[in-house]
Amino acid sequence: MVRFGSGGPQRGRGPMYNIDPNYKVDQKAILKRLWKYLRIYRFGLFFVLLAVIVSAAAMLATPRLIQIAIDQYIDIPTVNMQGVLIIFIAILLIAILNAIMSYIQQLSMTIIANRVAKDLRKDAFDKLQNLPVRYYDANPHGQIMSKLTNDIDAINGALSQAVPQFISSGITIFGALAMMFFTNWALSLVAISTIPIMVGLTIFISKRTSKFFRTQQEKIGALNSVVEENVSGLKAIKLYNQEETVLSTFKKTNRELRKVSFKAQFYTGLMMPLVIFINNLTYAIIVTVGAVLNIRFALVTIGQIQAVVSYSRQFNMPISNLAQLMNIVQAAIAGADRVFHLIDEKSEYENDPISSLVEVDGRVEFKDVNFGYEANKQVLDNVTFWGKPGQVIAIVGPTGSGKTTIINLLTRYYDIDSGDIQIDKKSIYGYDKKSLRSKIGIVLQQTYLFSGTVLENIKYGKEGASIEEVIAAAKLAHVHDIIERLPKGYDTKVKEGGSNFSHGERQLISIARTLLANPMILVLDEATSSVDTRTEAAIQKSMVNLMKGRTSFVIAHRLQTIRNADAILVVKDGKIIERGDHQTLLDLKGFYYEMYQAQFAE
């Protein structure tokens, strides 16, 4: 689905997702990188570790205590109730200690996981601010958003559930092993015989399924996109009864999501039964062998069998828990992969020059500029022109001739192929982008208003502007009266994208915003086309005042509006074919003359 247009690349939608079938998820690298984020909280992690150790010790002590109880106090001629009482109290105390530790552990982990998610989100957002406009034109917005929401959410979930499990599993396993061997080494050997099999299985399965998880995350992002685009194109969908078409796109993506999710989850889900099976098998073997050892060789006691079985359960439980977690962990790795891709994108400020554009008189010059958005499609061909401070330069021409492109190049949203663009005789490529852009005020063909009040929207032009300054700008833009007529005036809330204002009102607010920013170079891109000519005339009058001393480029094809310009550039097919003031061009009796006649030929 495509949105509304201006010349050149659109606020656009690239392909829904990019999946290279040969793409391999580098799990190790991703885990290493995630660790870098976790590292910051290593103090907290250490705390968690401590809590887990104590917890695990407590957990392990209990079977031992039970064993002691059975072997020494119960399974004897006269039951030793006092001994049992001691065991009772011991178990209780350990339980309380365990509980406290468990709470600390879980709480710390939740905090760490959420902070890591927050950090990741911040880094991703920071990067978003530095990406060139091109990135936003080429990538579906829903996908971009999904990386900061769904993908990071997956990481969060995995961290808070998996990390503590990993740590506690590690310790439990280690501790259980130790206790087991201490109890009865012979039986223990039997118990651990199956571990290598389980580990090997886990690695094998996770490698195979990683690409399914990656695709799963992509599809979720794609769903995000469909919903977002549906809402933004709502009017057209309704007017042209496209509901069915859009719905079937959604259903298709949804179905694909289900299929890949099934593959991902099923293979990972195999781990659980396999692990349980191996557990049960081990359990069977231990008891059988244990019984044999007891009967034939009196190498083990019943209590020891019970203990080893208990420990075996203790260390098999974490392993099967880990198997259960694989789904979550895999999804998190896939999510992290996508987030890191975003963070690794090249910033548009990467090779930015250091010098700032500070004082600007405003002489703008294009020298032999050649440019095309794509390799073989030239849009601007040897374009040369200049504007002196205080001049109003009008750029006219048929649609698609390259007018909007000129703005894109001046603001360095895109860079020229050859030639140069200069401000005050110095190349704009020698200055950092931000200082350059702050000196140029642009009113675009489509305007986007932010959610917030009308006041905040206008203030966007200059942070920290006083309300007097805001009102002054609004008056200049002739929108003050319109705003005052609103129920809450300047405090009226702007809905998403400005949908509660008319097209023309949005442009006026946007003009006010730009006026407040007070730039030395002004570019108006067909901005006033949706404003009625009455208001337009009024704006123009005040603009004359504003434009004193500034260089202004007005890109329009309303010949009426640029009749009073100091110079007019006529652009056709990427070339400037005529230039001069209105009367000079009329006298030429060329293209401009024809266009002018057409306007008033009715």
Partner: protein, 592 residues
């Protein structure tokens, strides 16, 4: 507190009762296997070892292995089924959600916000899905384990069983208290997710503005606020959940401790006539551990259930949202519009946050009374924000009137079937909205069964032909998602072609030639004049020159009312607003 909304969504698993029942059966089998294991083990300890019966040991050992094998079969098949069912249900919920969103009117969408719709379709459904999967494993397993464990425990030792009787309800009560506390916190997290989504949406949509105003720092600060708050809310919910394990651990340990003590006590009492063997105590422990294991699983799951319940509620909210704009009970179908339009006492306004649902505090249009006859060509003019677009958008029912009635051919438009109504009206909006595909597919949206001749005719009329013919693929040229191949003017012309191909009864052009150069604009206007011989045409314009020679002109004033409705000459005499506009465009003398 009882997960009503969640259960509501879960009902869907019964859509395939056969499969679901089978899955449950497999679960059951899986659990039975877990339960029989200790039994078999007990025999070894109780019978085989004391009697030194090696063959019995081996026999039982092999039996255990066999049971384990059966177990894996049950588990894998169950996994297969459970995953399939839960993923299918998830898919279905998402489809239902999106279908519902398609029915939403513009007002519905504005009320809920895009961020909320996105969150609900992806995130909320994911939450529900995770629980669904977990549920299949746990919700069946845990109670079965518990019941089985309880039965076996009771059978093993009625006396020791009393301990269990105390432990279980205590744990359940604690869990319910935790859930009650957690629910509002989870709600806060999900609501804030909407805020996060909306914030992100703004940022990605407004990349150019942000760069123009060099406001990256500002945006960063805004986002940090939202981000930090999200983390804070998440942690707050996490604090409550963190209580679960500790509480259960204490109660379970207490239970085990009691079992040992009481068991020892009973054993000591029954020294002469053994109440039970040591093997019994061991088996009992297994059963206790099974019961507690089941309880722990249940407890953890119930916590996640709280989170899913919040999501389920949000999903159902969207699914049950009243559609603002829909067909009446018996809509008229199979009609052909002639194009007579009448506005009778029509008032209309947009909702803002401060208005009560359905009302608008500040009406954009007030008390409009107009009659337009079929095949008339009407101009609509007025200053910015006066309500021109709003007026025309009422005709294809993009919005409904707040007061009054809008008639087409003498029938209240609310009585027409919406789809068929829209099919006979073409509205070209100020901002062209095109869809990815080809030039042809875009034009076909206007009329799905248009012939190539009709398509070409529409292109000619909209002056699209010239740029289409210069392309290699002509009508099959891609309209790409990034649209580099179409400039603003081309998109407008393509939108016009789409509107023309329909040959609608009513054609509305809302300032739709703003990006088209003057020469082409005139040509298009002439073409429209030709078309309009069979169509009621409304043209919203800025320039007097555009509307000057139309049949009649509607002039809207700043208060949302009609300042005049008549021919150019009549308005020049009677309408002050028209006079003002004329003055600003022609400056000075009034021309005829």
């Amino acid at each position: 507190m009882i997960a009503l909304n969640l259960l509501n969504l879960y009902k869907r698993v019964w859509a395939t009762p056969g499969r679901t029942s089978f899955a449950l059966l497999l679960m059951f089998g899986d659990v039975m296997i877990v339960l029989t294991m200790p039994f078999v083990m007990r025999d070894i300890v109780n019978i085989a070892i004391p009697t030194q019966n090696l063959s019995l040991v081996l026999e039982r050992g092999i039996m255990m292995a066999g049971i384990a094998l059966l177990g894996i079969f049950f588990a894998i098949t169950n996994n297969l089924l459970a995953q399939h069912i839960s993923l299918k249900v998830t898919e279905e919920i998402r489809n239902d959600l999106f279908e519902k969103i398609q029915e939403f009117s513009i007002k519905n969408v504005d009320r809920l916000t895009t961020g909320r719709l996105i969150s609900s379709v992806t995130n909320d459904v994911s939450q529900v899905q995770q629980i669904l999967m977990m549920s299949f494993r746990i919700l069946i397993r845990a109670p079965l384990l518990m019941i089985g464990g309880i039965i076996m425990a009771y059978a093993t030792s009625r006396n020791l069983f009393i301990v269990v009787l105390f432990a279980v309800p205590v744990i359940v009560i604690f869990i319910l208290i935790i859930m009650k506390n957690a629910l509002p916190r989870f709600q806060a997290v999900q609501s804030h997710l909407d805020v996060l989504n909306n914030n992100l949406l703004e940022n990605v949509s407004a990349s150019r503005e942000i760069k123009t105003f060099v406001s990256e720092e500002y945006e960063n600060r805004r986002f940090t606020g939202v981000n930090d708050e999200f983390a804070r809310l998440s942690i707050s919910a996490g604090k409550v959940i963190a209580l679960t394990n500790p509480i259960i651990n204490i109660i379970s340990s207490l239970t085990i401790a009691f079992v040992i003590y009481y068991g020892a006590f009973l054993w000591s009492k029954g020294a002469d006539t053994p109440l039970m063997g040591v093997g019994d105590i061991m088996a009992f422990f297994s059963y206790i551990q099974t019961i507690l294991f089941g309880l722990i699983m249940l407890a953890m799951m119930l916590i996640f259930v709280s989170r899913a319940e919040v999501s389920a509620k949000r999903i159902i909210e969207v699914l049950t949202e009243t559609i603002d704009l829909k067909n009446c009970d018996q809509p008229l179908r199979n009609f052909t519009l002639k194009g007579n339009i009448e506005f009778r006492n029509v008032s209309f306004g947009y909702e803002t946050e401060d208005t009560i649902k359905g009302e608008a505090s500040n009406m954009t249009l007030k008390n409009i009374n107009l009659t337009i006859r079929e095949k008339e060509v009407i101009g609509i003019i007025g200053s910015t924000g006066s309500g021109k677009s709003s007026l025309v958008q009422l005709i294809p029912r993009l919005y409904d009137v707040n007061e009054g009635t809008l008639f087409i051919d003498g029938v209240d438009i609310k009585n027409y079937d919406i789809r068929e109504l829209r099919n006979q009206i073409s509205l070209v909006t100020q901002e062209s909205i095109l869809f990815s595909g080809t030039i042809q597919s875009n034009i076909l949206q206007g009329k799905a069964d248009a012939t190539m001749d009709e398509i070409m005719e529409a292109s000619t009329l909209s002056l699209s032909e010239e740029f289409i013919e210069t392309r290699e693929q002509k009508y099959l040229s891609e309209v790409a998602a990034s649209g580099t191949n179409l400039s603003g003017g081309q998109r407008q012309r393509l939108s016009l072609a789409r509107a023309f191909v329909r040959k609608p009864a009513i054609l509305i052009l809302d300032d739709s030639t703003s990006a088209v150069d003057a020469k082409s604009e005139v040509a298009i206007k002439n073409n429209i004049k030709r078309l309009s011989k069979k169509t009621t045409t409304l043209i919203v314009a800025q320039k007097i020159s555009t509307v000057k020679d139309l049949d009649r002109i509607i002039v809207i004033n700043n208060q949302g009312g009609i300042d005049g409705f008549g021919t150019h000459e009549e308005l020049l005499k009677k309408s002050t607003v028209y006079q003002e506009i004329h003055q600003s465009q022609y400056g000075g003398a009034i021309h005829g």
